[in-house]
């Protein structure tokens, strides 16, 4: 039986929550148009301020600039920032994914070299997994890194690379050995300096008008040998464990939260029964998903494997993020006739969220992949 334990946050977490709320209140100028989606607000100045507060790399050891705090404290900071619509995208991937990856699998030199910059909110990373012919089937990656003396020569193309045009590094899944019978063998991850190593970055506009996607082309890009994350040949194990960290956090159900807030504002303090039920329905989902996410944080804190539970939270959370705007649009009086001045915030956040919503069940593992993970956990595969 799948178990999501009851977890109560400790009082330290609540003290921290108040600190984050005060910080958010003092930094409203960084969020003129709050949106809870974690990719929408790129603000290096804000990220650096978070770094100063010690709110990036919170769970890492202090020798690498970390805060040695619990997964619960990290969750509190994360959910408070997202709920407020704070701009967190600049450091997001580095904090959530690249840093923990290097901490777990990286060499001592790599940890020392990259982690303090991430924790200070000044060093940003991209993920180099997908390729033009590789989406969910990650083992079909074709980009190669061939050893040549003290270097690796990289050839291939990565795609859907969020913020590659402004981030400092990309960690790429590459083939360091030719394909063999074991299709998960022969992969490594390698760190490329996006500013200095000669990778070509081409922007891809998305349907929401965003410019954060890119294609990154490697043509005989040479990087030093010590850029391989940990041991060569360990790439598959690295990417699969890395994907599990990114599936259960509050960003998997809060992407549309500001739409909810503005919807409640328009409904007013005396909503019709229909409006009240819509508010209550969405709130019941938020309350439940949040508790499930906290349960997973508790499992992480105990060092448990959270693969299936995290996939469940993401499956439920992403579907809910898509339902939310659908509910919201039908309870505001008439979307097309809303007073533009009075209801600008609702319209802006609603339209942006709806346009982004197709990505909710694609990024970080598609719905189809997640359902497969859950089915395996149920013993069906």
């Amino acid at each position: 039986m799948l178990q999501f334990d009851r977890v109560t946050l400790d009082s330290e977490s609540e003290v921290l929550r108040q600190r984050v709320r005060d910080f958010v209140a003092d930094n409203q100028h960084h969020m003129p148009q709050p949106n809870s989606d974690f990719v929408t607000g790129h603000d290096p100045e804000f990220s650096a301020k978070l770094g100063e507060q010690g709110w990036i790399g919170m769970t890492w050891p202090s020798e690498f600039g970390g805060g040695e705090q619990s997964n619960f404290e990290r969750l509190v900071v994360t959910e408070e920032l997202l709920a407020a619509g704070a701009p967190v995208s600049a450091h997001w991937i580095a904090d959530r994914q690249s840093g923990p990856l290097l901490l777990r699998f990286g060499t001592p030199e790599q940890r020392e070299r990259y982690l303090p910059g991430i924790a200070s909110g000044q060093s940003y990373f991209s993920i180099g997994m997908s390729e033009p012919d590789t989406g969910s089937d990650l083992a079909s990656v074709r980009t190669t890194a061939v050893a040549e003396g003290d270097a690796y020569r990289i050839n291939g193309t990565k795609i859907w690379t969020t913020d590659a045009h402004r981030n400092h590094y990309i960690i790429c899944l590459v083939r360091t050995e030719a394909p063999s019978e074991n299709r998960h063998a022969g992969f490594s991850q390698i760190i490329v300096d996006l500013k200095n190593d000669g990778a070509k970055v081409r922007p891809i506009s998305n349907m929401a008008g965003g410019e954060d996607f890119n294609e990154v082309v490697f043509e005989d890009v040479l990087v030093p040998k010590d850029r391989i994350v940990g041991e060569p040949g360990n790439g598959w194990q690295q990417v699969t464990s890395e994907l599990a960290y990114e599936r259960s956090g509050p960003e998997r159900f809060l992407s549309a939260f500001r739409v909810f807030v503005e919807m409640v504002r328009i409904c007013g303090d005396q909503p019709s029964p229909h409006q009240a039920a819509a508010i209550g329905r969405l709130a019941s989902h938020f309350m439940t998903l949040r508790r499930m996410s906290i349960s997973v944080a508790g499992m992480l804190e105990q060092g448990k494997d959270v693969g299936v539970e995290a996939a469940l939270v993401k499956e439920l959370g992403n579907n809910f993020e898509k339902v939310l705007p659908e509910v919201a649009r039908l309870v505001v009086p008439d979307l097309s006739q809303l007073d533009p001045a009075k209801h600008k915030l609702f319209r802006d956040t609603f339209e942006e969220t709806l346009l982004l919503s197709p990505s909710f069940t694609l990024r970080g593992g598609t719905r189809e992949i997640l359902r497969g993970v859950i089915a395996r956990g149920l013993g069906l595969r």
């Binding site: 946050l9 909810f260 504002r265 309350m287 439940t288």
Partner: protein, 342 residues
């Protein structure tokens, strides 16, 4: 401590070690064992025909389960609701929610022998209706949506026998004007909703388990249907809803006695009720025509789920209750209210 002594005796009798188990786990394990033995298809069918499951009731009394959560039983309300989850998982054809809550409300009125019990129904101006197994009850209690008062009929005389959608006995009693009233601290209506929520959480788990079992046993096109991606994805959706339902049900139990009780019950009954529609539909689809027969046991679970989501406030009722509260707080307060510690 009568209840615990009986558990210990039963556990020792069954050759179980109990020393390291906490009370709640002991209750759950003992209940599961009894229900697995007794709540077979035949018993559920018979109960639907109006035959009271006397032997099962005897087992419940023998183990002290009829006093769970009552003062002096050595168990608390959280044990009571954990037990109701187990009842839901086995479609126990007895009004355990009503028996246990009425005992609690009447300050442990249950007799040691269990020769009588009270049941609870919806109160309106002239009657108390939808009283589970009211025909067997020696006391009948009536609860209305917006009152902390409970009406008690001490010598009930049944007016009409009936059934709910699941074939559970639901009877009606006319008011004579001579009833007495008691008053409770926590809303009795919300407590009944919480009881249904936990029964549903258990029933949802059982429904998922039946789906998993059937998918692995049924073979088509030369292989187990569990190997088809369409089936795997249906059951993954079901598992996600069931997991959410468990967490939601537990959260409302944890809010007992706090000022968030009504709101947490609202969220919980609404969320679990929403899961019912999805889970029942998908698991029936997985079962094909077999699950549509009376002979298969799936309907004993799905019909109860469909009935229970409408009893003691449906999703719309509780969603609107919660939504009105949040709207009154104002848009900028909703996050603070959602972001609780527990």
């Amino acid at each position: 401590m009568a209840v615990l002594e009986k558990f210990y005796a039963a556990s020792l009798h069954a050759d179980w070690g109990y020393v390291d188990m906490d009370t709640r786990q002991l209750i759950i394990d003992t209940a599961e064992k009894i229900f697995a033995d007794h709540c077979q298809k035949g018993l559920l069918d018979a109960a639907e025909q109006g035959i009271f499951p006397q032997d099962l009731w005897g087992k419940i009394v023998e183990n002290g389960f009829h006093q769970l959560g009552s003062a002096g039983s050595g168990t608390d309300a959280a044990d009571l609701y954990a037990f109701l989850k187990v009842c839901g998982r086995y479609s126990v054809p007895l009004p355990m929610a009503e028996v246990l809550l009425s005992n609690q409300w009447l300050a442990s009125a249950a007799t040691e022998s269990g020769s009588d019990f009270a049941s609870i129904g919806r109160l309106n101006d002239t009657s108390i209706n939808q009283v589970p197994w009211g025909r067997k009850a020696t006391k009948v209690l009536g609860v209305a949506a917006d009152s902390h008062k409970v009406l008690v009929i001490d010598a009930p005389s049944i007016n009409e026998q009936g059934n709910n959608l699941a074939g559970e006995a639901h009877d009606t009693f006319l008011l004579a004007g001579t009833e007495r009233e008691i008053e409770l601290e926590d809303s009795p209506f919300a407590q009944m909703a919480l009881a249904r929520t936990n029964l549903m959480a258990g029933g949802l788990q059982a429904t998922l388990d039946l789906g998993l079992q059937f998918a692995s046993e049924r073979s088509q096109f030369g292989r187990s249907i569990s190997k088809f991606q369409a089936i795997q994805h249906s059951l993954a959706v079901v598992a996600a809803e069931v997991a959410a339902a468990q967490r939601a049900a537990d959260a409302a139990v944890d809010a007992l006695g706090t000022d968030r009780f009504i709101d947490e019950v609202s969220a919980s009954k609404a969320r679990v009720g929403e899961a019912v529609g999805i889970v029942a539909e998908q698991v029936h689809q997985v079962h094909g025509a077999m699950g549509f027969t009376y002979e298969h046991r799936l309907h004993h679970f799905t019909r109860r789920l469909w009935a229970w989501r409408d009893e003691w406030g449906n999703e719309f009722y509780w969603q609107a209750m919660l939504g009105s509260r949040l709207a009154a707080m104002g848009a900028d307060k909703v996050w603070g209210y959602i972001a609780t510690r527990g």
